[in-house]
Amino acid sequence: MENLINGFKHNKAFRFTTCLVLLLILIAIAAPVISPYDPLEAVMRNANMEPSLQHLCGTDKLGRDVLSRILYGASYSLTSVLLLVAIIFVVGTTLGVLAGYYGGLIDTVIMRIADMMISFPGIILAIAIAGVMGGSLVNAMIALTVVTWTKYARLARSMVLKIKRRDFVEAAIVNGGTSPHILWTHIVPNILPLMVITAAADIGAMMMELAGLSFLGFGSQPPAPEWGLMLSEGRQQIQTAPWLMIFPGLAIFITVVIFNLWGDALRDVLDPRQDN
């Protein structure tokens, strides 16, 4: 935490990108206030209107205002992607810490499953899981969790194995510390910074994958104003109404750029071992 505040004071890139992230979150929260129209209200006589002063990003085939849908989509997409990263983070880190700390059978079982998942392209399994379970945001999140947790588990495990041998952990064991106590006060706080850096750097990639699943129809379902889904709807009208696919894609792109920049800056601030 201290590092973060220091970084905010001294690291220009971190200050700037944090402000951008906060701005995104602010837009997401303020969507109901700043949106010019209701994102779900269909006005058929306004269908497929080109971008104009009344509708800055045009309207879709149901006459819904695209800008309003994108703004509402910010809260929808951001909430779901942050929740997804949080779930993956908790599941992966917990399993990794358990595997590293207890070793033995738990370790073998967890890590062999992780080895298996890592040895083939996850996205195709995610598509299959989400698709077979039936398209919904929850199923897409489950599918992405299933294929991504292994990265966190491996990282957490390798760090726990290193820390476990350090003197202060041995001292805690000698002093009769219980396992939960050692885990919470000595191990978890030490691995947390690097895990958080990894999670922050992953937000952008997860956002693209979640949008990809929605784009295929295996994620969010209509009429949700989700960016991937809007792209997929826009794709069908690419000839007549290209603005339907340009603006939601631009929204994903800008958000991913911001989170990737922020992830890089956060790594510089939190990871003292980086030399440059």
Partner: protein
């Protein structure tokens, strides 16, 4: 790698494949409703008689205990019998073999594109670190890794096919003109990623002590780069290339959909929508197998490229 290590790797690969086959087998159970009924009906609203359902259920062994179902399925798969595709009205294996070339062509074309651009760019930006050109390429590649490939595909389609009319809008078959846009889409995204990796790898080598030593001895910069640095940077780059190529096999699914390119990814999505589960299982398993074989080949190539390993192997 010694023969023992290779054998160990092969054994490991078989175990992982067994695990993956189990996961793919279980996939069907995730489906809401009766998967057997859905396999016959697909996503069409037709009436399927109970007799038909029972017959297929019996044929697939799905009326037996769970583990028995799995072993009998695995036995059939090992004999090359992936079942019958109700979507394509032919055996799954035939359908698989028909879609395979499209995926391989696209993967090879986009990897060639990626290598042609990313290797020179990566090396040049590493050598000319912190010049305007380096900043430009870093900026562009940063944008490239942050752009969703399906959106990039749609934008390229809109510009080149619709506005400029250079390419057909609806693909659906394998041809050069249908190939170019999906190749560009995947190629640009992959190039961005790989250029950054090449640059980082070469930079790391350039900072090694032996480079400082060579410079101190007054050796020519280009000699150091071509004869000392690049051969050392080659190994990590080959690993990364293997991973990139492997991810093209599965990760191209969304791009294949955008351009209706009839490869594995396109087919798997169609099969999911059609509830043709046996095709889904077959494709997932097949992609896993190809990905692992590629990584094995990469590891084996180390043998020939790294003299240290060759020595240790004896």
């Amino acid at each position: 790698m010694s023969r023992k290590q290779i054998l160990y790797r092969l054994l490991q690969m078989v175990l992982v494949l067994l695990g993956i086959s189990f996961i793919t087998f279980c996939l069907v159970m995730l489906a809401p409703g009766d998967p057997v009924r859905q396999m016959i009906a697909g996503n069409e609203d037709i009436i399927v008689s109970q007799v038909e359902i029972d017959a297929l259920r019996h044929e697939l062994g799905l009326d037996q205990p769970f583990l028995f179902q799995y072993t009998s399925w695995l036995g059939r798969v090992l004999h090359g019998n992936f079942g019958f595709s109700f979507m394509m009205k032919k055996p799954v294996l035939d359908a698989l073999l028909e879609t395979l070339p499209a995926t391989i062509i696209l993967a090879v074309a986009s990897s060639v594109f990626m290598l042609v651009f990313s290797i020179p760019l990566g090396i040049y930006t590493a050598v000319k670190q912190n010049t305007w050109f380096d900043y430009l390429i870093r900026g562009l590649t940063f944008a490239g890794v942050s752009v969703p490939n399906f959106w990039m595909g749609l934008v390229l389609l809109w510009i080149f096919a619709l506005k400029l009319g250079l390419f057909p809008i609806v693909g659906g078959s394998i041809s050069i003109e249908n190939l170019i846009l999906p190749m560009l889409t995947l190629g640009i995204v992959m190039t961005s990623k790989y250029t950054r990796q090449v640059r980082a790898t070469v930079l790391e080598e350039l900072n090694q002590d032996y480079v400082v030593g060579a410079r101190a001895r007054g050796m020519n910069e280009s000699y150091i780069l071509w004869k000392e640095v690049l051969p050392n940077a080659l190994l990590p780059l080959i690993t990364l290339f293997g991973l990139a190529f492997g991810s093209l096999l599965g990760g191209a699914a969304v791009v294949e959909i955008v351009f209706s390119w009839p490869g594995l990814g396109y087919t798997v999505v169609q099969a999911i929508i059609y509830r043709d589960f046996q095709t889904v299982q077959a494709i997932v398993l097949w992609i896993a197998l190809m990905y692992m074989v590629i990584n094995l080949v990469v590891d084996l190539s180390y043998n020939h490229l790294d003299p240290r390993l060759r020595k240790a192997g004896r």
